[in-house]
Symmetry: C2
Subunit: 326 residues, 2 copies
């Protein structure tokens, strides 16, 4: 029997062993652990939420880990406690980015006021995201007041990360062949700020050009909030240039959002949206693992693809066998 | 007792009375009718599919109905049988666009080789779309070999229509204040061709300019198929200019898609996607109308919004009560 209350108390005191235990519980795939984790999270919930949640995305090699290390050290220097989490959609393929991230954030990983947690492995992005989101709450309860979530800018993972943070930063490269990579993927629409990294030395003019192009592209988009204009800034994570300015941007943003009430409103919406996502996800699982549904599924899908039955008829039959089985 | 087999036979012979009866059945909200409709559709299915399915979208007043009338008359002149359907997300508010559309397509509505069906009323876009999609099959079984679906370019309805047609045409206006309206809404990504309407007289230079801007914008987008380059053309529906060219475009497109196998592949994918959409929709309905779930729902949503319980815990409780109730 795990003493949940003891773990919760330990977490709230900021004890690293309790924090590790809590996160292990949250990340576990064991079904009993999952019930325990729910109880634990409910106990930690009142102590959570007092943080700034920051998402950082960008193509592989954009410099996300490097800027997180620089920003993290800057923040611990200012007296903050920083937790770094990762949502890595490729982790189940590559076996996790643990080593990669820890070695790339070497100085930060030795900082007593920083906590780095690589992405857990998981079958689905939804599974990884669920755990990341819950780990975020545990870290907050443990007193970390800045949470940084890193994700690779590929497909759905950015949208998922944006839905769990207060501020979403897009890290871009100067003149990476196609300066408007962002627009295509709809990522620019969710960015609260764009930073063009590696903007040092010879790269500077290219970075300036990219900045102009992003600003032009931003004009085509409907602003997310009337109280915030998405800035495009240059930085060099490697040379620690633009790091303080990045934090200033986050600060300005949260001030504006808190003043207008959007900050709280967004968090409430994120929480209820997330409840729906989880519920619909579990409902779908329940359906797909239903014995009768599973027995009929492939057959129906093929019949529809071959034009032997209509999508409507196939769907009705699947729902019928599900109802009957319950 | 409705003689389903008789209706099916009548439809296949192209009898208008049988067609009307079949569509009434498909559109009915009565639950017994819904079962009958499923049976009828399965009987008609083998006779369906032999058509070109065309979606036309654009802002209110772009000239969709006018171009459909012109194109429809052009097509019946060539010996085609044309069915015009509508997906109108506003129909449940405005009480339907029946009168509007019939008066705007007066000549076509008197053409014996054309069939115009305004959008049925419905609670949800999903409901309207389901009926439109099934009505399309009935029309095909009745020998209509060109199906045109009109939808207003607002929000989700365009995506829905694009998911049920072979060819999706975006109708735009020259210099409508913001020439890049399309890009913002992600509609350009689903267009197979863009037509700039009302490109006559004084409007011509503005239309040419808009054309260039759309072409530039298209370069930013990833092509949907390597076998098709989205054209941007000018037309004047009112003066019947560019109508034959529009049909030529549809023809070129379908030729290219059929040659590459994408035509059939897309239809198969649309059918199975639609099966999933319907199934998930009905599953959600089943869940939301479950007595135990309904009793707990508001409470859980509020608890999550107020930070009293976590999204994960709330979701687990909702799924638990659903399982228990079945
Ligand atoms: N010149 C230059 N190199 C940089 C800068 N920031 C990061 N790099 C280098 O770019 C490479 C990739 O940096 P990372 O921080 O690992 O990039 P990442 O975005 O985290 O990459 P993934 O985690 O693999 O997606 C490393 O070799 C960094 O040293 C910079 O500002 N200037
Ligand atoms: N000058 C000019 N007017 C046109 C042209 N095409 C359509 N119109 C006019 O534009 C108005 C709107 O045309 P509709 O065809 O009803 O437009 P719609 O896109 O179907 O509009 P909704 O169904 O209300 O969304 C009508 O007054 C048409 O006569 C054109 O090529 N040139
Ligand atoms: Mg990294
Ligand atoms: Mg119209």
């Amino acid at each position: 029997m795990i003493k949940l209350h003891d773990i919760a108390e330990g977490v709230k005191k900021g004890q690293l062993r309790a924090l590790a235990k809590a996160i292990t519980l949250v990340e576990s795939r064991n079904i009993d652990h999952s019930v325990a984790a729910t109880t634990l999270l409910d106990e930690l919930l009142p102590a959570s939420g007092n943080s700034i949640r920051l998402g950082i995305s960008g193509v592989p090699g954009a410099g996300k880990s490097t800027i997180i290390e620089a920003l993290g050290l800057h923040l611990t220097g200012l007296g903050h406690k920083v937790a770094v989490l990762a949502v890595d959609p490729t982790s189940q393929l590559s076996g996790g980015s643990i080593l990669g991230d820890k070695t790339r954030m070497e100085a930060l990983s030795r900082d007593p006021n920083a906590f780095i947690r690589p992405s857990p492995s998981g079958d689905t992005l939804g599974g990884v995201a669920r755990k990341t989101r819950e780990t975020m709450l545990v870290c907050e309860a443990a007193g970390y007041d800045v949470i940084i979530v890193e994700t690779v800018g590929v497909g759905q993972s950015e949208i998922t990360v944006a839905s769990m943070v207060d501020f979403f930063m897009l890290l871009q490269l100067p003149g990476a062949g196609d300066e408007l990579q962002g627009i295509k993927k709809g990522v620019m629409e969710i960015a609260d700020a764009i930073f063009i990294n590696k903007a040092e030395g010879d790269n500077r003019p290219k970075a300036e050009l990219a900045r102009q192009q992003y600003l032009n592209a931003l004009h085509l988009l409907k602003p997310k909030s009337t109280n915030w204009q998405v800035p495009v800034r240059l930085c060099s994570a490697l040379h620690k240039q633009g790091i303080a300015e990045a934090w200033q941007t986050v600060h300005d943003f949260t001030q504006a959002m808190k003043a207008s009430g959007e900050f709280e409103q967004k968090r409430r919406l994120q929480a209820t949206d997330w409840m729906w996502t989880l519920t619909m996800n579990d409902l779908k699982d329940l359906f797909m693992h239903d014995r009768n549904v599973a027995a009929l599924l492939t057959q129906m899908q093929q019949a529809v693809a071959q034009g032997i039955t209509t999508p409507g008829a196939a769907s009705r039959r699947l729902i019928e066998v599900f109802k009957r089985g319950h």
